[in-house]
């Protein structure tokens, strides 16, 4: 039987020929938790009465969502995570290491062909390196820690074929926002996405992470790409584990095939308060902005900062506006310092916070005031997301955010680059 990538990985990990619709119990290659979800997972783990974890090397907890801790409640959760990590011998990435979805691939925990869960919805990020990785809840994670397994409903797959060369000012963020605007916030619910085509192949691995990261914003369970030469060479640099590149069969069954032409795309913005509320940047140009944010598991990588710094170099953040920068890992931060990108941000008047999620989740590092507009490179603009339900969040590429903070209003990056 011909199979999709999802069907192949779930077959190889469950020891049976699995097809869309089947429910399988499958072996996990890696399990990730973060500080917002691991506290509950540890509670569930204790309640389940297990003697220990299945294999500490296959487990990591990243303290990234509220790090360093802004209050006593969070500090207690962090303390609980540290104590659990010490007790079980799992990998711990403490305050300042970075965002979970940067660390897991960067530190070599995941390779092509893997089956991975994470108690964070953006775990679909590692689909960019050909891993079936998906977000689960805390109790699912605890069950994985104990048994090394989890149950999965094998998803149907939608194939997204993106061809064409994106014009100047159009980046991977614009590609994925355009797709989400088209298929809507629940257009791929319960399904896996496979992203293929020349425009995807042309992207760097970093640019591909941005796309797979946002697969969940259309409801997808995974955002899978092929393990081409770029991926294999990237993985070799980061991991000693052996990759198992997994391709779909030629006659695999897809629930839908969607085709896009990147050469026809322009810079886009997701307007408040849903990610699928996407419009060309021209339609919101001029909207005053009080805060810009560049970072997160979507766009907090070196390539993103290089693009933003090239726009901000020699210019200043507008006096009515702030710019917050959060590197996605300590490694990214070091590279920013080495390459001069860090200095360009500081000189432009940006505030650089600790590697981690920054203000994305609304717990610290830049909670907007009532009525304020924020332009952000994050993946979500839900009401209240950044900690204030009376603020407005616009999503765009690092270039669009950089251009906008210079002008103090939403700005088409093509006018500046």
């Amino acid at each position: 039987m011909s199979k999709t990538i999802a069907e192949k990985i779930l077959s190889s990990h469950s020891g049976r020929s699995a097809k869309a619709g089947d429910i399988v119990v499958a072996d996990l290659d890696f399990m990730m938790g973060q500080d917002g979800t691991s506290g509950v997972a540890i509670d569930s783990f204790r309640k389940m009465g297990a003697a220990g974890v299945c294999d500490g090397a296959k487990i990591a907890i990243c303290i990234d969502h509220s790090a360093p801790s802004p209050n006593i409640g969070v500090s207690e959760i962090h303390k609980k995570i540290r104590s659990f990590s010490g007790e079980t011998g799992i990998n711990l990435y403490d305050v300042g290491c970075g965002v979970c979805h940067q660390l897991v691939p960067e530190q070599g925990h995941v390779v092509p062909g893997d089956l991975v869960i994470g108690a964070d919805s953006h775990t679909c990020t590692y689909g960019a390196i050909n891993a079936f990785s998906t977000g689960v809840g805390s109790t699912d994670l605890a069950a994985g820690w104990i048994s090394g397994k989890l149950w999965f409903k094998v998803p149907e797959t939608i194939k997204f074929v993106v061809n064409g060369k994106p014009p100047k000012g159009v980046y991977s963020k614009d590609i994925i926002l355009s797709i989400i605007g088209d298929v809507t916030a629940d257009g791929a619910t319960y399904k896996a996405a496979e992203f293929m085509g020349g425009a995807i192949e042309d992207l760097s691995v970093e640019g591909r992470f941005t796309i797979s990261n946002m697969a969940i914003e259309m409801g997808a369970k995974a955002g899978l790409m092929l393990a081409d030469k770029k991926v294999l060479s990237w993985v070799r640099k980061h991991s000693r584990r052996k990759p198992n590149p997994t391709e779909p069969d030629e006659h695999a069954t897809y629930s839908d095939i969607k085709e896009y032409n990147a050469s026809k795309m322009g810079p886009v913005i997701a307007r408040p308060h849903t990610v699928d509320n996407v419009s060309p940047v021209e339609e919101v140009e001029g909207t005053p902005i009080q805060q810009g944010f560049i970072g997160t598991c979507t766009n907090g990588r070196m390539e993103d900062f290089s693009i933003a710094a090239s726009i901000l170099k020699g210019k200043s953040v507008h006096r009515d506006c702030k710019l917050i920068i959060a590197p996605s890992s300590k490694q990214v931060l070091s590279e920013m310092v080495r390459s001069g990108v860090y200095g360009a941000f500081v000189d432009a008047g940006a505030v650089i916070v600790a590697p981690g999620c920054g203000p994305c989740v609304g717990t610290h590092n830049g909670v907007p005031a009532d009525g304020e507009n924020v332009i952000s490179t994050a993946n979500r603009n839900f009401k209240g997301r950044m900690g204030n339900p009376n603020a407005f969040i616009y999503l765009g590429s690092p270039a669009t955010v950089a251009a906008s903070v210079i002008k103090g209003k939403i700005t088409d990056p093509r006018k500046i680059i």
Binding site: I23, V25, D35, G36, T37, G39, V40, S44, K47, M48, G49, A50, H65, S66, N71, G73, V74, E76, I77, G118, A119, D120, S121, T123, G135, V136, G137, S138, T139, D140, A142, A143, I146, S147, K149, L150, W151, K153, A185, D186, T189, Y190, G219, K221, T274, V361, G362, T363, R380, F382, K383, G384, R385, G387, P389
Partner: protein
């Protein structure tokens, strides 16, 4: 499994996300689920938990309920607020898993004819919602066997305590 209560609807019907169900500003600092429950759905209706919700009520919504983050605190806040089930046209998948893992049914049904305050009786085994106020019956999509087992066991923690691992066949 028979459940009875009133329908509780919100000004937004589709795409009720996990930030609406329990805001990130609470999930990180509150570990006590009873405290979390006091803030359930707060950004859509600040009076919901305290004034509108009665024990056993149903949250009723449209498409894509629970989209957004993986936070288990979302169904947890709903459970500890004594909501007996969520009934929606469709659910985001992580929320759906999390609900059953906590032993709360997430019921897929056509909710168009259900209004705020309608008296509902849900028979999960028969796959039927009775709207007593409107004197109407709504068919419910049958639950996959895996979900039935999880509900019967009282959630994934109880399932593991009982079987020491997965036993879902």
């Amino acid at each position: 499994m028979m459940l009875k209560g009133k329908a509780r609807r919100f000004r937004q019907s589709d795409d009720i996300n996990t930030d609406y169900i329990i805001s990130g500003r609470y999930k990180f600092k509150i570990q006590d689920p009873n405290e979390l429950a006091k803030h359930v759905m707060e950004d859509l209706d600040p009076d919901f938990a305290e004034k509108r919700l009665e024990k056993g009520d149903f949250i009723v919504a449209g498409r894509n309920f629970g989209c957004g983050s993986s936070r288990e605190q979302a169904p947890m806040a709903i459970k500890y607020a004594n909501v007996s089930a969520v009934i929606a046209k469709s659910f985001a998948r992580i929320f759906y898993r999390n609900s059953f893992n906590l032993g709360i049914p997430a019921i897929e049904a056509d909710t168009d004819g259900i209004e705020e305050g309608d008296e509902l009786e849900v028979d999960l085994n028969a796959g039927l919602i009775k709207n007593k106020t409107k004197n109407r019956e709504i068919k419910v999509a049958p639950l996959p066997r895996t979900m039935q087992i999880l509900l019967e066991d009282g959630g994934l923690v109880e399932h593991f305590k009982k079987h020491g691992g997965f036993k879902l066949d």
